[in-house]
Symmetry: C2
Subunit: 211 residues, 2 copies
């Protein structure tokens, strides 16, 4: 954002984050090493330590950037899409795009490894989920007021279920390598919210363009 072209200044740090993010999302935080990152960008591990003193700091930076990007994407959704159901669809599509690259949600992966994470990373993971829940809750409440969503319980409860469902769908679908598996589960999960639908089962068997 500061210097889009310079190759020497803050660019290396960003390339490190790019590579490390990919590694965490595919192999987990305990499944990659500084050597893996260093090798992929033709640098030594010593140089890596210049940019990020330890793995904990690198991990914290990864979550910070991931969260920033994610919530920018959510803000963008709100700008582009006016109605609640479209926003919810777009939200699920964010997850779908990650899975299509054979990745898990960064914080979903870190949630699995939670017990082994440094404290600073733990807090950041929790915050990510909290903020997701808050955003979804707002969308759901707006939808209910507009009359486009039909539910009676707490919006926050539905929001949590959606987050759990989408994170779980990524987790389980990835080993199969079928993105359909995620699409279908996501569609099934969200289908019950639509106004006038009587059961959560009338999911439109994952139409390609949807979700």
């Amino acid at each position: 954002m500061a210097r889009p072209d310079k190759d020497s200044a803050g660019d290396t740090a960003m390339r490190i984050l790019d590579v490390a993010e990919h590694l965490v999302q595919t192999r987990g935080f305990n499944g990659f090493s500084y050597a893996d990152v260093a090798a992929e960008i033709n640098i030594t591990t010593a140089s890596l330590h210049y940019h990020f003193p330890g793995k904990a700091e690198l991990g914290r930076a990864l979550i910070a950037r991931y969260a920033t990007n994610f919530f920018e994407a959510l803000a963008d959704i709100e700008r582009r899409l006016p109605d609640a159901p479209a926003r919810l669809q777009a939200y699920a599509e964010l997850y779908s795009r990650v899975l299509r690259e054979q990745r898990l949600c960064l914080c979903g992966m870190l949630a699995a490894e939670y017990q082994t994470l440094p404290a600073q990373m733990r807090e950041a993971v929790i915050t990510f989920f909290d903020d997701n829940e808050a955003w979804l809750t707002r969308v759901l409440e707006v939808g209910r007021q507009e009359g486009t969503f039909d539910f009676t319980g707490s919006a926050a409860g539905i929001a949590r279920m959606i987050i759990c469902g989408l994170e779980g769908a990524m987790l389980v679908a990835r080993p199969y390598g079928e993105s359909d598996r995620f699409q279908a589960a996501a569609a099934q999960l969200l289908s019950g919210l639509k106004k006038g639908v009587s059961s959560p089962t009338e999911a439109p068997a994952a139409s390609p363009a949807t979700v």
Copy 2:
């Protein structure tokens, strides 16, 4: 099963599996070492290699035993509970019990680490999910025939959604250390299937004894 009392024969292997299972469910397959297991049962790592030649073999054995126990529990549910909704509740309760010990589903954890697993373990993880799906699908179909479940799509699709939802609920709830979080998400997830319920949102805000 063979010798319930003997302390020297096959007992060590079982204690190794007990400790290793706990470690994988809490820290992940890449988050523990032979030394961790050895220390906890007062044995050397060399002895560990006698029982399980390598970590891959240990991992394979872990999944095999976990799956056996899990499907025995499912068979037990079918024996004890005659109607489909009760069976589904009991199914969710199995997950809940695991989470209460701060553990993830073994195969849920391994799904996160899937890309780093030896091939033999990968297959076993997939099979576990497939078998779960098959069991749930049967329960759902029976429920629909009995008239206790109300859904229109494919039972297999619902089954997949339930598995994803429960695995995701464990994943996300554990960092919070609140078992309520899982209970609520699970209740929300299953609420839409009940006959005569109009939306998936009328979840009975996680009554303690339920699920």
